[in-house]
Each structure stands twice: as structure tokens, then as C-alpha cells.
Subunit: 397 residues, 2 copies
């Protein structure tokens, strides 16, 4: 697998655009993005578990649940189109049609819609429709076009987030590109997370769905406080088959290769979101090992990464193992605190700070040095089983 | 029921003291407290659910689980005696003995021990033992003595928290006094919560336990983020019977009267903790009605009160109903967002901002006026059943 330049336009047959339509109040900010595939692309998506689902979430979910393929993804930032009732749903359709009308044979249901921004406000449809026209005109398969799209979806983010990788499947080069938005708003709440993935792999619907869902649980779902899902959280993927590989239609080696590459994309994007919290200075990764169950491993890693006290200790370069142990203790996971190991790790090295539940006689100076790097990794071993999980967050200034 | 001056020394037969022994580094801060009953007092306690339990939690739990009565509670701030192994348990006993030795027939197990402060450090036992001697000398039944004790248990708190109430049971005056410590440290984590309750009611052990446990679920347990319980959280109560009422030994009217008065004490103390977050300017109360189950009502009220976005909106005097609805949506409770009502309330008045899932055409000016008062109350009606719950927190600056 190699990492290549660019983002969603890296795979064959995908064009993108990002520009300012006028949804956001700030006159200099891009606020609409479009990705179009030359041909029908198999689609899959994962969506927020929040009971309150924004109109575009309902629109997309209905499409990926009932259709094999789509042709495009259109997005806006500035207004979330959430809590907008019947009119919000109508506006989703109008936004999709504003793209579809430019292409022969394309219908509104060929277009996935993603929105992020203020809850409760209706989309300014004149602006959105004019924006869709401009986006179609601006479509391009360049790195710059992908970059424009990646910038247009941001809200409270401090930087764009995109990636592209290539793998060989049966001697054929397959490319996957991705972009996302999302950042810690006011700790511990995350803003909306939107993920857009494009690939030229040839894969059937069932396995594309399987790969995406399997990935999301261990990536995007490991960056937020449990349950804190916004009204709009969405990750969608389009696979247009233009790489020309033999269709992946069973869980063979080719599927595994694709699945692993997709994981790399999702992990990169999820970590980019985790490290982009308001006022955050570094990425904080917590690896939980030796948990009794996978669920317990997730509880442990999330409890530590989400604890403000732990996050503040990482910022303060203070190897406060008591706070880590306390967070493990209230995680809900089953373990015996008196056998736990805790290790800190970064580019500066690795240091065991708790061994068998007791603080080691570690060098505070070295601990501070480890905590001064970016990223900082805490490794907790519960010694209660064989399951593991990794969660990501940021420090807290 | 009447509210009277004072705290833990208000009930008959209780003396208290609070002073500086030298546990805390700051030379001006009180750091040890003692409460002694003239005679044996029936005891009960509730303790942290954290897997990592501090030594004094284990000490106290063993006592209230196996003994009918105790005579005293001794406490220190500055060092939590948590994650301190066998030595920490030994130090608990030494601390209890340092009090017990001053009284004929009193043993270490007659003394409950409560600690709060830094995790992982051992108690300075010379300081603690000298402090215990000084405390015994300083014991007094005055309002000032209770006040000294209430001050000596504080850590990150910005103010002392104490209360006393009187009720009539069968024509006899019964008094309950209480004090606590606890405050939001770094949002959303709470510091350790310690609660000390004294009463001269005559009640048997079983019913004292029942009253305390029933109360705590709806008071102290409704101020923290779910699961965020420290290594040391403890609420203990001593009932010495000196009021002379007929022993409460069944769930009759007398029990109900006592139970309700104890609830008032616990609610007051819990709200005092909730409103004392770092940088908080006001108490934020969330009442959830119409939930399908009591558990759902708790999930709803806690999700809203714990959401940073909602707390920041309260501080910003911004009636952001989208944030409230979003928090309800990720609470895990079952409800239909399209029928929900949301109301804001304070001394300035009451305002329906969402009716049947749709924002009302409310006056933003009046909403801002409501949110400018202290406390601010948000009332959410899920219209999914008949259960209700109230949670408390603070705004977020």
C-alpha cells in the first residue's frame, strides 16, 4: 500500500469541486462541495445513531438502503438542515435535483446529500441551487479540486483532512481517496463528523457495506465520547469499478486487501478529527489490551481518552497515572485494578508507569519528555482477557 | 419542615471541629475535620461504583456493612489515600485509632474515615495523628464548629456547603444536619464528592440504609456525568436517637417524614456541588418528564445537563433548542423527537421554545432574560410515558 498525493479525485473517474456559494455568513469561506463519478458507483453509508436525524441523513439512508449505486455526493457547510421537518426533506430533494439535472439520465436519488452547520435553520435554497450549478461547472479531477472540496466542508475545523492510498489487487492498481470534517467543539462534545470516500475498486454492494461498517466501529466511532453523536454524522463511500480489477464478490484475499486499505483511510481521517479539538495541541491515543471482551476494551480506551483530567495531564506533561486508573475504574469494564499495567509512549521512548497496579519508580523527567511529543500514546493492559481496542482524542489546554 | 442555622452540629449530641493539621501544602488552609456523637449512632453509607476504591472507602464500607453503629467520622483533605495498597489500609486504621484512643471503650471500627485530594500519595501519618489530637481538643457543638468542619473538607470547591433542617415526628423535634465537598474540576469530570450527615432521629439500621440509598440515586447521583465517579466518593450518615422520638422501625408516616427531610438535605448538598463547577456562574437544572421509564428520564435529564454545548448556551444566554434536542437524541432514551416539548424557566418567567418537536415563534429577548437568572431550569417532555427525573449541573464559561 502506498500513500499518494490528493484526496477524493485520486481514484479513476472521480471529479470534485469546492467553492463559496454563500451559505456561510463569512464572505471568504467555501461552503459547498461536489463529487461526481463518471459512471454508476456502488454506494454504502453509516449514519448517526442520534434519535434526532437531520433531513440529509434520512435522504442518504433511504438511498443506500434501497439502491445499488449512485453518481454523486453534494455537500454544504453552514446550515445542517436538521430539525427542519417536511420542508427540510423537500430541500434535500431540491439540492440533489440541482446536481442531477445537469446529467442525462441522472435522477435526484443518484445524489447523496450531506449538510453540516447550524441546527434548526432551513437551507437557503436559491443559494444552494446556484451553488450546485457553479459546482458542476467547476468539476475537475485535479488534486486542487479535491483540496477545494475538502476545504468547503469544514465548520469549526482548523484544517482540512484528506488522504489517498493505492494498493495492488490481482496486479491491478486500485485507489481510494477520502476527506472528512469534524473537530471537538466544546469539550467533550464533537461537532458533526462527515466522511466522503471514493474508490475505483470493483466490488459488490454487500461487501462494500461490510467493509465500511466493520471499519467505522474501530475508527470514526472511537473518537467521540460514547453516545455523543450529532444529528448529521455520516460516512459515505462510492466504488465505481473503474480500476478494472476482477469484481470483489467474496471475502477472499482481494477483499481483505481492500478492507485493510479502507481501514487506513478511515483511521487517518478519524485521527485527524480527534487531533483537531478546539485548543488541542496534540493527538492522544489510548490502546487498551487484555480486556475481557472487545466491548470492555472499547470502554477502557474511551474512558481514558475522554477523561478531561487525563487530557489535561497530557497537556501539562504530568504523568498522572492516578487519573488514568480512575478513568479505567469508572469505564464500566470488568478488571482488577490491582494487576493493571500502564505505559506511556511517544517518539521520545516508552515508559512503564504502573506495573501490577502499583506505580513504578519511574523518572518524572523522562515521563515529561515522552508527554512533550505529538502524538502521545497511553497503553493500558487490564490483564483480564485477550481483547484490545484503540481510541483517539486530543489533549486539553 | 424548617431550615435552621448551622450544619452537622445542629442535631442533639453531635460535636464537630475543623482545623489545619498540615496535610495541604497551603499554610492557611484547614485540612482535617472530626464529627463525634455523644452516644452510639446507627450508621449507613453509599460509596463510589468506581472499580478503583480508595482505602477509606473500603474501610467505611466494611464498617457500615457489618456494624450497627459508629461514634465518629474523621476526614482529611489534601491526600485521597487512593491507590495506596496495604499501607493505605493500615493508615486508615491508624487514623481511626488516633480518634478512638481519646474515648473510653471506643475502637477504631467506631470511626468512619473520609479522605479527598491527590491520588497515589500516602497520608502523612505524623501530621494526621497530631491533627486528630487537636481535633478532639477543639470539638464543640456550636455553629462555628460545624462551619470549621465544613471548610476543612474542601479541595477545589469555591465555597463551603452545609445545611440543617428540623421536622416534628410524633410531637418530637428531630434535626438533620449535613455538609459536603465536591465541585466540577475540569469539565465534565467531577472532583471527589464527600457527604457527611448527622441526625438525632431514632431509627433502626435497615430503614436508615433504605432512606439514604433511595435518596442518593435522585440527588448526589444526578450531578455527575454518568459513570464519572471518583475513587473516594462517599456519603455517610449517623443517627444517634437523641431526639427521643419513638424508634422508627417500619415504613410509616414517621419514616416518610424523615425520608423527605433527608431528601431535602441531600438535594441541597447535591445542588450545591453541581453549581460549584470551575468557572461556573449559575446552577442549571434539567427536569425530564414523560419518559417511558425512570431510567430513560435519568438518561434524558443527564444528557442535557452534561452537554457542553447546552451548558455553553446557558452561559451565553442563547436559547439553543437544537443543542438540547440533539443531547436528548443521543441520550439513549426511547422517544419520538417529533412530539417533544422544551420549556425554559427561571425567576424571570417560563417560555415554551419547542412544542411538538417544532420551535415555537418565541421571543429571543424574553429567552435571554430567562437565561440571565440563576438558577436556569430546562424542562423537557418526551411524551413517551409517565416517568420523570431531575439532574443538576452548571453553565460553562
Amino acid at each position: 500500500m502506498i500513500k499518494i498525493e490528493g484526496g477524493v479525485t485520486a481514484p479513476k473517474g472521480f471529479k470534485a469541486a469546492g467553492l463559496r456559494a454563500g451559505v456561510k455568513p463569512t464572505a471568504t469561506k467555501k461552503d459547498m462541495a461536489l463529487i461526481v463519478s463518471e459512471c454508476d458507483a456502488v454506494c454504502a453509508g453509516t449514519f448517526t445513531l442520534n434519535k434526532v436525524k437531520a433531513a440529509p441523513v434520512k435522504w442518504d439512508q433511504a438511498i443506500v438502503d434501497t439502491r445499488e449505486t449512485v453518481r454523486a455526493m453534494v455537500a454544504n457547510s453552514g446550515v445542517a438542515n436538521a430539525c427542519t421537518g417536511v420542508k427540510g426533506m423537500e430541500n434535500c430533494r431540491i439540492m440533489a435535483e440541482a446536481v442531477a439535472k445537469h446529467y442525462d439520465g441522472m435522477v435526484a436519488e443518484d445524489v447523496l446529500v450531506l449538510s453540516t452547520g447550524v441546527i434548526g435553520a432551513q437551507l437557503p435554497m436559491d443559494v444552494i441551487c446556484k451553488g450546485a450549478d457553479m459546482l458542476v461547472d467547476a468539476l475537475d479531477d485535479s488534486v486542487q479540486a479535491a483540496d477545494d472540496a475538502a476545504n468547503a466542508i469544514l465548520t469549526t475545523d482548523t484544517r482540512k483532512k484528506e488522504i489517498a492510498v493505492q494498493i495492488e489487487i490481482d496486479g491491478t492498481t486500485v485507489t481510494i481517496g477520502g476527506m472528512c470534517k469534524g473537530a471537538g467543539m466544546i469539550h467533550p462534545n464533537m461537532g458533526t463528523m462527515l466522511g466522503f470516500i471514493t474508490t475505483d475498486v470493483a466490488i459488490n454492494k454487500e461487501l462494500l457495506v461490510k467493509a465500511l461498517k466493520g471499519n467505522i466501529d474501530d475508527t470514526f466511532n472511537m473518537v467521540s465520547v460514547d453516545g455523543d453523536t450529532s444529528t448529521n454524522d455520516t460516512v459515505v463511500i462510492m466504488a465505481n469499478g473503474m480500476a478494472g480489477n476482477k469484481l470483489i464478490d467474496k471475502e477472499d484475499e482481494s477483499f481483505e486487501k481492500f478492507n485493510q486499505a479502507l481501514y487506513v483511510i478511515n483511521e487517518y481521517l478519524a485521527k485527524s478529527i480527534a487531533g483537531d479539538g478546539e485548543g488541542a495541541t496534540k493527538l492522544f491515543e489510548v490502546q487498551a489490551y487484555g480486556a475481557a471482551t472487545k466491548e470492555d476494551a472499547k470502554l477502557l480506551s474511551k474512558a481514558v481518552v475522554c477523561s478531561s483530567l487525563t487530557k489535561a495531564a497530557v497537556f501539562g506533561r504530568d504523568a498522572n497515572w492516578g487519573r488514568i486508573l480512575c478513568a479505567m475504574g469508572y469505564s464500566g469494564a470488568e478488571f482488577d485494578p490491582e494487576v493493571v499495567d500502564i505505559t506511556l509512549k511517544s517518539e521520545a521512548g516508552e515508559l512503564a508507569i504502573v506495573k501490577d497496579g502499583v506505580a513504578t519508580d519511574y523518572s518524572e523527567e523522562f515521563a515529561t519528555e515522552i508527554l512533550s511529543q505529538n502524538p502521545v500514546i497511553a497503553i493500558v493492559d487490564a490483564k483480564a482477557g485477550a481483547s484490545s481496542a484503540t481510541a483517539w482524542g486530543c489533549d486539553l489546554t
